[in-house]
């Protein structure tokens, strides 16, 4: 079974890759690539349903076993099922769904964003106590400068502050970010190659 899944995965990966680079030479590869992509999209959509059912099963199990915080799990399951039913029946453009979105989903997420703001502030304040090194100082100074350059002062603007902030963001920070992203891309490349040729097989077990 594992060999079978590995063969399928490797063949699909090579065909998709060939469709990217060799479709001018082998036009049939483009059609195969499109077909496989459509299959992948359908399976990704089905996986979403599977993920939802997994979420329901996990929290239902918690309720059944009366674990700590099972009341929240019950509330989650009820809200999930209700939103799913209303969305399928009423469609997203229904006013009831807009109320659900504006009255529940967005405030909850905004609240999480507010908590995130406090968390980031807390972490930045405590950073030098946790790790008082050069990188931590640079980190905090950069953060303060970017914050200061993104606002306007009530009485008088500091000349060049906004320009300095843009320079830091688009030159220094972006240069560093590009370097990090190149490294991440190389890691993604090698990881993808390992999976593509079966060295790593997260599918089908070992």
């Amino acid at each position: 079974m594992r060999v079978f899944t590995a063969v399928i995965a490797i063949a699909a990966g090579i065909l998709i890759l060939g469709g990217y680079f060799l479709q001018n030479i082998f036009p049939a590869l483009a059609d195969v690539q499109t077909l496989l992509l459509n299959w992948a999209i359908i399976m990704a959509g089905a996986a979403t349903l599977v993920g939802i059912f997994n979420l329901i099963s996990v929290h239902t199990d918690k309720v059944r076993r009366r674990e700590q915080g099972s009341i929240y799990s019950a509330l989650l399951v009820i809200c999930l099922v209700a939103a799913l039913l209303f969305g399928m029946i009423l469609r997203p453009d229904h006013s009831a769904m807009k109320v659900v979105m504006s009255g529940i989903i967005i405030p909850v997420e905004a609240a999480l964003m507010g908590i995130l703001t406090i968390s980031l502030l807390y972490a930045a304040i405590r950073l030098l106590r946790r790790r008082a090194d050069v990188m931590s100082f640079i980190f905090l100074i950069t953060a303060v400068l970017i914050i200061f350059s993104s606002v306007t002062l009530p009485f008088a603007n500091i000349p060049g502050l906004n320009t300095f902030g843009r320079w830091m963001t688009q030159i220094l920070a972006l240069g560093g970010a590009r370097g990090i992203l190149i490294g991440v891309a190389l890691g993604t490349l090698t990881t993808g190659l390992r999976v593509l040729f079966g060295a790593d097989r997260p599918y089908g077990g070992n």
Binding site: P92, A110, I125, L140
Partner: protein, 884 residues
């Protein structure tokens, strides 16, 4: 309860269908098939399975079959001849009084006496059972029973191997009679008979039976009684010493001990402290000390022989008491088969003497006084005055210095090493004592063929050439100092011990013993006989070319007929000094460096690696609550008051200017594809940033699509929110909903939008849209849209509206002209909003709260960071001080 199986190991009951015991997991059911019973333990006395290999006979080569046939015939002839000779020797030699007791024993205790014992004791052998079990043991090795019919007829069932040599092939009465007769004669004379060969005067025949004992054979009792009678006059005062024999001692043995105790001179012997066997030793010694006839020592040799639970040193000591090396018999005996006694026993005595108590060390030394004075330790030298040792010994032990005892031969112990002590008493070693070692024993003129095998071995030494070998000491210093010899002969199997009888003859220059043929062919497997070289002459010739100069012809055993195969070449000793090897390790510097590196690596492996950053920082709920309170209070206050203190940003960045130009260039009623790819948490920021741009569009035909699950609902919220609040009317909106597949879904959609979304029937390419607007809070989402649509969108403008956090990562796409404009965050929306002709937007509403909140965050981070830096330094300083 027949349906319950009782475990043979633990005794617990188990169900019959269980294969293993549920208590001890022992197997209850035997294995099936051919393995059934294979795992059963072999019980003592169990007869090995007979395996008939006779069918393999035909496949043997012709020469081997011929050899086997000839060997079989010759063996039959030899056996027949030996039988005739033995009958002639013992036909009229039985003594009436002796035979009377033996016959009664044979008649009454036939069931209790094993056949092999009966053979020795003279009891009439039981009728031989046809095909007894013991021969089968041999068949396992020898092949079919029919091939060894002669051996079967001679073999006695259950005869120990060590006694096979003792078991006569002829009727036993005659030889035993002969033994006893000669022993009786010697006892009566009180002097050894030098004319007789030592081994022909075998047993000292008892005159009167001793006290009745159920365990003691009559013949043995008689022997004990006779011995007691012989010394009765001298030792009548010592009878009290052994009045209360040990309960562990067999009656017959106690009887013997009692008799011997009567002969002891010293009545002060602490009988209660000494074990029975030791008491018996004392009794023997005492008897010898008083010039008792030698036969008495031989008679009580059995008690003096240590039992199996006696320590080795004492056992060997007891042996030495019985067989002083000074009483070396005729050298022929040494050559014939008892040489192991001469080699091994002195060593055993010497080594064991070191472990003796101080008071006991002198005990065996006296026994060995006359043995090899040149090489023996001082205490072994014969010149050592017995009085010196005797001064420290108890008086009863000082009697062990009797010269009679010193003359006892030492060879007997080896020959009867495996024989129980009580049987040794019956063995002809007593007769050995009759022969003083000082007098060379003449070799017998004729050999007695009716003697037991072990006796034949004695006789075999009595070759005419033996006297030449008498003069040198029987035990050379090398042989006595060879410590390994003791263990060698102690551990040697009996069959090998018999075989080693021939080794002295082979190592010497003696010709093959004349009576070598007297060893019954049955002792040698016929298959070995068959493999013997038929032509000894040719083998001799061939062996003459060997490297060994020893041309001794092997006459017995498996090597019979071969010459020079077991050379005892003095030249084997190393001729040069052994090369000295340094124990210092020879290692080069590189190897030493590698070893040091390896040690370093191993040390690093075992050394715990401290994790410097493992210290956990405790949480601060107070700081959290302070931050929440501060931020919440400031922002709520500003939003509630609706202040406009902070001015809107001025200046239009290029990317925003590009977006502004695109929005202004889109014709009225044009189709615009809008992707909603942001999270609900950032809906406020994204809507504030996107609303000013949409306010600039003129009655566009908007198509919404989303690559996240909730994007379509956010699109509906945007339609009903910012777009509805704008003054622009006539928007046509098509919400395509969720586009699954992420990057691949975008690519597939870009290749053929109509195929992916049926609502876009007729639209086969992205280039059919007039503009593409991406609203996202993620640089990855923006990158996916930019990269996956680059080859299909053609020249249509693309504008990205992003959150502030994603803008730096999207900016390069604007710099590389892959996108036409970029509006990022609330700041970009505020800039864009100032360019849309004064249309009021939500950006202004948020700007004061945004600016004040950012300044508050900056202050908190700066002040709090410095405060925590101080706290951290203080903690580290205190921790460093604590560790010091």
């Amino acid at each position: 309860m027949s349906d319950v199986i009782k475990c043979p190991v633990c005794g617990e009951s188990n169900l019959p269908d269980q294969e293993f015991c549920r208590y001890c997991q022992s197997r209850l059911q035997p294995l099936t098939g051919t393995l059934k019973g294979a795992d059963a333990a072999i019980k003592p006395g169990q007869v090995p399975t007979k395996k008939n290999t006779a069918e393999l006979e035909p496949i043997l080569p012709q020469w081997l079959r011929d050899a086997r046939d000839s060997a079989r015939k010759s063996a039959e002839n030899d056996a027949a001849q030996a039988g005739r000779q033995s009958q002639e020797s013992f036909s009229a030699s039985s003594t009436p009084d002796l035979l009377a007791g033996l016959q009664s024993q044979a008649g009454n205790e036939e069931e209790e006496t094993p056949d092999w014992l009966a053979n020795i004791t003279g009891a009439a052998p039981k009728p031989k059972k046809p095909q007894a079990d013991s021969p089968e043991v041999r068949w396992v090795e020898l092949g079919g029973a029919k091939d060894f019919a002669q051996e079967e007829s001679d073999a006695e069932p259950f005869t120990p191997s060590w006694l096979e040599g003792l078991a006569p092939t002829e009727p036993q009465s005659d030889e035993l009679t002969d033994w006893f007769q000669q022993t009786d004669n010697s006892q009566k004379s009180g002097q050894p008979e030098p004319q007789k060969p030592p081994f022909d005067t075998s047993f000292s025949a008892p005159v009167e039976p001793a006290a009745e004992s159920g365990d003691t054979p009559d013949w043995l009792k008689k022997m004990a009684a006779e011995s007691a009678q012989s010394n009765e006059a001298l030792f009548d005062d010592s009878s009290k010493t052994f009045d209360a024999p040990s309960t562990d001692t067999p009656d017959w043995l106690r009887q013997m001990a009692a008799e011997a105790g009567e002969q002891t001179n010293d009545p002060n012997v602490p009988a209660s402290d000494a074990s029975d066997w030791f008491q018996q030793i004392a009794a023997d010694d005492g008897s010898k000390n008083n010039n008792a006839p030698v036969i008495s020592a031989g008679t009580f040799d059995a008690p003096s022989t240590p039992s199996s639970d006696a320590p080795d040193w004492l056992r060997s000591m007891g042996d030495f008491q019985d067989h002083p090396q000074g009483a070396v018999p005729a050298p022929g005996a040494e050559a014939a088969g008892f040489s192991e006694a001469g080699f091994g026993e002195p060593e055993a005595a010497a080594s064991s003497a070191e472990n003796l108590p101080e008071w006991m060390k002198d005990f065996p030394s006296i026994d060995n006084e006359q043995s090899a004075p040149g090489a023996s330790p001082s205490w072994l030298k014969g010149d050592a005055p017995a009085s010196s040792a005797g001064a420290e010994l108890p008086s009863w032990l000082s009697g062990t210095q009797a010269p009679e005892q010193q003359q006892a031969p030492a060879q007997d112990e080896a020959a009867f090493g495996d024989i129980p002590g009580w049987l040794k008493a019956a063995a002809p070693q007593s007769s050995v004592y009759e022969t003083p070692s000082a007098e060379p024993t003449p070799a017998p003129a004729t050999l007695s063929f009716d003697s037991p095998d072990w006796l034949n071995a004695f006789k075999s030494i009595d070759t005419p050439d033996a006297p030449d070998e008498v003069s040198p000491p029987a035990f050379t210093p090398d042989s006595q100092t060879s410590e390994n010899m003791d263990a060698l002969f102690a551990d040697m199997p009996d069959w090998l011990s018999n075989a080693t009888d021939t080794s002295p003859s082979t190592s010497s220059t003696l010709p093959p013993a004349a009576n070598a043929e007297e060893i019954t062919p049955g002792e040698l497997p016929s298959w070995v006989q068959a493999m013997r070289p038929v032509d000894t002459g040719s083998s001799a010739r061939s062996s003459s070319t060997s490297l060994s100069s020893d041309q001794t012809l092997e006459s017995r055993g498996a090597l019979a007929g071969l010459q020079g195969v077991l050379p005892s070449v003095p030249g084997f000793a190393p001729t040069s000094k052994p090369k000295a090897y340094s124990i210092r390790l020879q290692a080069s510097e590189e190897q030493q460096a590698h070893a040091a590196l390896l040690e370093q690596i191993l040390a690093a492996e075992t050394e715990p690696v401290p994790i410097a950053s493992f210290s956990a920082l405790t949480t601060s709920r107070g700081l959290r609550w302070f931050l929440v309170a501060a931020v919440f209070a400031v922002l709520m206050a500003v939003l509630f008051m609706g202040t406009q203190i902070f001015p809107m940003p001025v200046g239009v960045p290029p990317e925003i200017n590009g977006a502004l130009q695109v929005s202004q260039s889109i014709p009225e009623g044009a189709s615009v594809l809008v992707a909603f790819d942001y999270e609900p948490a950032r809906a406020g920021e994204m809507e504030a940033a996107a609303a000013p741009l949409f306010n600039l569009l003129r009655q566009p035909n908007l198509t919404f699509i989303s690559t996240n699950e909730i994007g379509s609902i956010l699109a509906e919220r945007f339609i009903s929110g910012p777009l509805a609040d704008s003054d622009k009317s006539g928007f046509q909106v098509l919400n395509l909903g969720y586009l699954p597949g992420g990057q691949m879904g975008i690519r597939a959609f870009a290749q053929n939008p109509g195929l992916t979304s049926p609502q876009l029937a007729g639209i086969t390419s992205l280039s059919q849209f007039m503009a593409l607007i991406i609203i996202t809070d993620s640089p990855d989402s923006a990158r996916m849209w930019i990269e996956q649509t680059s080859f299909t969108r053609g020249a249509i403008p693309m504008v990205v509206i992003s959150s502030a956090q994603a803008a730096p990562m999207i900016q390069p796409y604007y710099d590389s002209q892959q996108i036409s404009g970029l509006v990022s965050g609330l700041y970009g929306g505020a800039v864009f909003e100032q360019s849309n002709g004064g249309i009021p937007g939500i950006t202004r509403t948020y700007w004061d709260a945004y600016s004040l909140g950012m300044l508050l965050a900056m202050v908190l981070i700066t002040g709090g960071g410095l405060w925590n830096l101080v706290l951290g330094l203080r903690n580290r300083t205190s921790m460093a001080g604590g560790t010091k």
